[in-house]
């Protein structure tokens, strides 16, 4: 199917509809972050930037945001590295007990998170290990791992062994083969895995609630603690900022690259 024809138009239409569905809550949150009142009744009563101002001055939320970013980034790096290695083993080799290993790798998402959280705490209590940031990180790695493994495996299966064999027959050592052939071929899956693990870690509540050491708060736990009274629209403003960063950064990056390229050509 090419970019033409009835089939393709249907697909494009379906994609647009799904996108609308996906972005509806995002749109609402962004709209409400400019709302002068605290609640989301439509039609809105007035526009204001006060929530952004308050967000800027709210140390607790800004700190939580930084923690979430660092935690998410570290989680995605570690979990993707471990996950890619494991996926290579699973797809490229046959070994006894493979099915068991395969189940074990997905197991972290099979246990309800609240149980996993309490069980891990009991274990630590037994060992008398205090809670710490590395522990929180380890917890996040363990339950983002299945996402990475699943997505990378699905991709690796499709990469034909012949490419690697060809590289090797041309004299590349295994490491070179991996770097020059395998890795580029599975890059989309690696990126997807990183994106997955970052997002899951960034958005996790239950596990974080239990594992966080004193003084460490992530954005979700901050929000959770606000639930009793009321969630401040500053959180909406934070969401808007995040969305704008995600949308704007790559766009400006691309624009800059284009301009740079144009100038180079002009010379």
């Amino acid at each position: 199917m090419k970019d033409t024809g009835l089939g393709w138009s249907t697909i494009r239409l379906a994609t647009i509809v799904v996108c609308l569905f996906m972005f509806a809550p995002v749109a609402v949150v962004m709209l409400l972050s400019f709302n002068s009142s605290q609640f989301g009744s439509f039609p809105m009563e007035g526009l204001s930037l006060r929530w952004f101002v308050e967000l800027w001055h709210n140390d607790a939320i800004v700190r939580a945001f930084q923690t979430s970013l660092v935690l998410g980034a570290l989680t995605s790096m570690i979990s993707t590295t471990i996950g890619v290695l494991a996926s290579m083993a699973m797809v490229r080799y046959d070994f006894p007990g493979k099915r068991l290993v395969s189940t074990a790798l997905v197991a972290p998402i099979l246990v309800p998170e609240v149980v996993l959280a309490v069980a891990l705490l009991l274990f630590l209590q037994f060992l008398s290990v205090p809670k710490s940031f590395p522990l929180l990180l380890a917890g996040h790695v363990i339950f983002t791992l299945p996402f990475v493994v699943l997505v990378v495996q699905a991709r690796l299966v499709g990469i034909r062994r012949e490419y690697e064999d060809a590289a090797r027959s041309l004299g590349a050592n295994p490491l070179q083969t991996f770097r020059e052939v395998t890795l580029p071929l599975m890059l989309p899956a690696v990126l997807a895995g990183m994106l997955f693990s970052f997002t899951i870690s960034f958005d996790d509540i239950t596990g974080t609630l239990f594992w966080k050491p004193g003084g460490v708060e992530t954005v979700p736990t901050q929000i959770f603690a606000m639930l009793r009274n009321s969630i401040s629209p500053e959180i909406n403003a934070l969401g808007t900022v995040m969305v704008l960063i995600t949308v704007a950064l790559p766009l400006t990056g691309a624009a800059l690259a284009r301009r740079l390229a144009a100038r180079m050509r002009g010379r």
Partner: protein, 384 residues
């Protein structure tokens, strides 16, 4: 926690007969191993408070305005005066917090902003209570006596917590659809009025549900005789209700956006809605439910440091700032302290300082039935 305190704690447990000799030795070994791990490459990543654990107090409470007020008015001056750092954490619910405390090591959590005498009794029942040296908390003299009494009754005259604020769970109604007279006439029965089918809400908490069902069936909630009638009333409410809410934020958005017209609600949250211009009425019906919150010191905490912090937190300016933030009156006696302009206007506020008009959960009664009733409610709310 450094090495020696960990060792001392294990030793104490061994001496108390908490663990046997073999376990003790095993845990010593494991603790040593873990310390080695923690001190290795991970040690670099450990947050500073874990290392500089010379003197610090861990406080856990509700986030948002409440914790901002505490940080600004109590923790900063406290740290300045004593050099002791306050590490503050948050929780989203009292139950979730207790689960965490139970799975932690002694001394990890120190002071918590807990709800209810019921929770106080629960912590005491789990062996987590302490004895405060009241001489170290001069501000305790400003606290309403009535609020201290139930705590002292549970812990034999001692206190393991200081009362901090109180509120009611009354009936909230949208005045567009329900007149004040109708609300007053019907009282608790407003919540099971067929007229509002699918416009009724309720807190998904078993104690509150049972309390109001007892009122609806004309019984004393602290001495229920016909439990079957109570469950039937709970079921009746469930079938008429659109939604059980589980947090103040949800309560406010449900009422504020007119998803529901009547529900029981927390006084401070309804006040916040009214402040935002929503036309919501609030009524404490006869026999209506009041509750109090306390600052509880958990077993294994550095007592002197905690007592001093409690004293800071009970300073009128701190208590008033927190009260204005969350819209619940402070536990300070209005006859002894000038509470400013806003506090006397808060719902549930009692100017007499006696709280004689309010009804609280009888902790012994409710704790006795906790296991059975909370489980039964778990089923009833799902349609059984």
């Amino acid at each position: 926690m450094d090495e020696s305190t960990r060792y001392e704690r294990l030793l104490a447990r061994y001496r108390d007969g908490d663990i046997d000799r073999r376990t003790f030795l095993k845990m010593l070994g494991l603790a040593g191993m873990a310390a080695g791990l923690a001190g290795g490459p991970f040690g670099l990543l450990t947050p500073r408070e874990a290392k500089a654990a010379v003197e610090q107090v861990r406080f856990d409470g509700w986030g948002g305005v409440v914790s901002e007020a505490f940080r600004e008015y109590a923790f900063k001056p406290y740290t300045k005066a004593t050099g002791i750092e306050v590490v503050d954490g948050t929780f989203g619910g009292a139950d979730e917090y207790l689960a965490r405390v139970r799975a932690s090591q002694p001394g990890e959590f120190n002071i918590a902003h807990l709800s209810g005498v019921f929770d106080y009794a629960r912590y005491d029942g789990l062996g987590l209570s302490t004895t405060l040296d009241e001489d170290n908390i001069p501000n305790l003299k400003l606290v309403i006596e009535t609020l201290q009494k139930p705590f002292r009754r549970i812990t034999d005259g001692r206190l393991s917590a200081v009362p901090y604020d109180y509120g009611t769970t009354g009936i909230a109604y949208n005045r567009k659809y329900v007149s004040d007279e109708e609300a007053r006439d019907k009282g608790a029965k407003l919540l099971i009025d067929e007229r509002f089918k699918d416009k009724i809400g309720g807190w998904s908490e078993w104690k509150t549900r049972i309390w109001y069902a007892a009122l609806q069936t004309g019984q004393d909630p602290n001495d229920i005789e016909d439990m079957d009638a109570v469950w039937d009333a709970v079921r009746q409410h469930r079938d008429l209700a659109l939604k059980y809410w589980s947090s103040g934020a949800e309560l406010m958005s449900l009422l504020g956006e007119e998803e529901i017209y009547v529900t029981e609600g927390w006084s401070g949250r309804i006040r916040a809605l009214q402040d935002q211009g929503h036309d919501i009425g609030y009524l404490d019906p006869p026999g209506g439910l009041a509750w109090q919150e306390c600052l509880f010191v958990i077993k294994g905490s550095p007592m002197a440091a905690c007592e001093e912090l409690l004293n800071f937190m009970l300073e009128p300016e701190v208590a008033i700032a927190v009260a204005e933030g969350q819209n619940y009156p402070p536990a300070l006696n209005p006859k002894k302290v000038d509470l400013g302009e806003k506090v006397p206007t808060l719902p549930a506020f009692d100017p007499s300082g006696t709280l004689a008009s309010l009804n609280f959960f009888d902790p012994a009664y409710w704790n006795d039935h906790e296991g059975q009733w909370s489980k039964t409610f778990g089923r009833v709310q799902r349609g059984y």
